[in-house]
């Protein structure tokens, strides 16, 4: 039993290492995500800045839109690479369990998305003059929970539509409606971090909400990945 479990953990770790190795050779996904986020932030800045000042409370929304959009790009690109080189079939044929494939993809996408925020969060704090970095610990927690949820649901859907001809269009169409509760929770939680003094009960409510969302969807994703991604 223990050996079996160790094997699974090893599969997951090896698959993650494989994804990261490929990424750090090309750095394609990361660079695209970072640059795309910057462009999104700029586009929104031009939409929301009037006479040199940003409209109030707009920074949090822009942050999460940038995360969501760049995340979508990262998710579809990560899976596209597998499809392009025909390695997804090899992965599915390998002795690794489907759930191990799911968890490894989800973890590497989460990592890419988190790394992207190293650029995006300071950029938004800088451009919109908001005290985003005041409660860094809480901010990282909120960002982590939000990104984990996006990566979980995104990985399942992207894997399902791997061989669908219109996957680029369909992924956001399918993904965003399902993610809206998470999006509401993440923006509200981030919003409380900007307020002074910090409203702990409200923050904890949304943190708990994000945790529930993540746990529920992780369980369903691990369970349904096997059923949904059959080749």
């Amino acid at each position: 039993m223990n050996k079996l479990f160790n094997n699974r953990v090893r599969h997951v770790l090896e698959l993650i290492a494989k994804d990261l190795r490929i990424e750090f050779r090309h750095r394609e996904v990361l660079y695209t995500m970072v640059f795309f986020s910057v462009v999104v932030v700029l586009v929104f800045s031009f939409a929301f800045v009037r006479e040199g000042h940003a409209i109030d409370n707009v920074a949090v929304g822009i942050l999460w839109i940038a995360i969501l959009f760049s995340g979508t790009i990262g998710i579809s690109r990560t899976f596209d690479r597998e499809r392009q080189y025909g390695t997804m079939r090899a992965l599915l044929l390998s002795p690794a369990l489907r759930s191990a494939i799911f968890i490894s993809k989800m973890v590497s996408i989460t990592l890419f998305m988190l790394l992207t925020q190293i650029v995006v969060i300071p950029l938004i704090a800088f451009l919109f003059d908001v005290p985003l970095l005041n409660h860094l610990g809480y901010l990282l927690l909120v960002i982590f929970l939000g990104i984990l949820g996006i990566a979980t649901v995104g990985t399942v859907f992207a894997a399902m539509m791997l061989f669908s001809p219109s996957r680029e269009v369909l992924l956001p169409v399918v993904l965003y409606p399902v993610l809206i509760p998470l999006f509401i929770g993440a923006t509200k939680a981030t919003d409380t971090l900007l307020r002074n003094p910090l409203d702990i009960p409200v923050l904890y409510f949304w943190l708990k909400f994000l945790c529930v969302f993540n746990i529920v969807f992780l369980l369903i994703a691990v369970w349904s990945f096997e059923e949904l991604v059959l080749e």
Binding site: V153, V156, F157, M160, M161, F163, S164, P165, S166, V169, L170, V173, V174, P177, V178, I180, P181, L182, I184, G185, K188, F209, V212, F213, V216, F217, I220, S224, E227, L228, L230
Partner: protein, 225 residues
């Protein structure tokens, strides 16, 4: 048997719509706050009920389809989703008219409105995936339906933190006399209408699936090109 039921339902609907319209406009008394505008309620609420029945059918059908792999359940889910989009559109439109009369705005970011809209958007995404998903669209949309179904309580909680101005569910039990009778007749009518659409769409799906099978075997035999 099925034919008899379908014709019965058609009969019920064709009698039911004029009857409810008559009851709504001539028999049910005017409501004391919203007056004439309240009449939309008799179609708005039954449509909302049917929308939730349809969503339920879609969710259950999807779970059963992934589990048993019987195309019959897939037809259920698909029909459920399409009817949810249809009745959802009716709900949102009649709701807007109600909102304009009651709150003087077409749309409010209120809890119930927003959650209905979000659920409806998920159903539209389902139909979308169904039509443009290509190979494997059946599993993809079943997955979407399951994720969407789990999403419903989360949507409700997250959206509910906003102030709600939608009348609470207490409106229905408060109805009196002719208003109550008219309302429940409308609900029955919409149940019949829903069943009719469901039965016809299912029959159409099955016929199309049979056509595909026939086409396949004809291709195999070389009868058609």
């Amino acid at each position: 048997m099925r034919k008899i039921i379908v014709f019965l339902l058609i009969g019920l609907c064709s009698v039911g719509f004029p009857t409810t319209l008559y009851l709504i406009f001539y028999k049910a008394p005017l409501q004391d706050v919203l007056y004439f505008n309240q009449k939309i309620f008799y179609y708005h609420v039954p449509s909302a009920f049917m929308m939730f029945v349809a969503i339920f059918a879609c969710g259950i059908g999807s779970v059963l389809y992934l589990w048993k792999r019987n195309p019959r359940y897939d037809f259920w889910a698909q029909t459920g989703a399409e009817l949810a989009v249809l009745f959802g559109a009716i709900v949102l439109m009649t709701g807007s008219i109600w909102g304009k009369a009651a709150w003087d705005v077409w749309w409010q970011w209120d809890a119930r409105l927003t959650s209905s809209l979000l659920v409806w958007v998920i159903m539209v995404a389902y139909v979308f995936v169904r039509h443009y998903g290509g190979i494997g669209a059946d599993r993809l949309s079943a997955g979407l339906a399951i994720f969407g179904m789990i999403d419903v309580p989360l949507i409700y909680v997250s959206v509910n933190i906003w102030r709600t101005i939608h009348p609470q569910t207490s409106v229905v039990p408060q109805l009196e006399g002719m208003m109550k009778v008219t309302f429940w007749i409308s609900v029955l009518l919409f149940c019949a209408f829903f069943s009719l659409l469901f039965a016809l769409t299912m029959a159409q799906r099955k016929a199309m699936a049979q056509m595909d099978v026939i086409r396949e075997s004809a291709l195999d035999l070389g009868v058609i090109e």
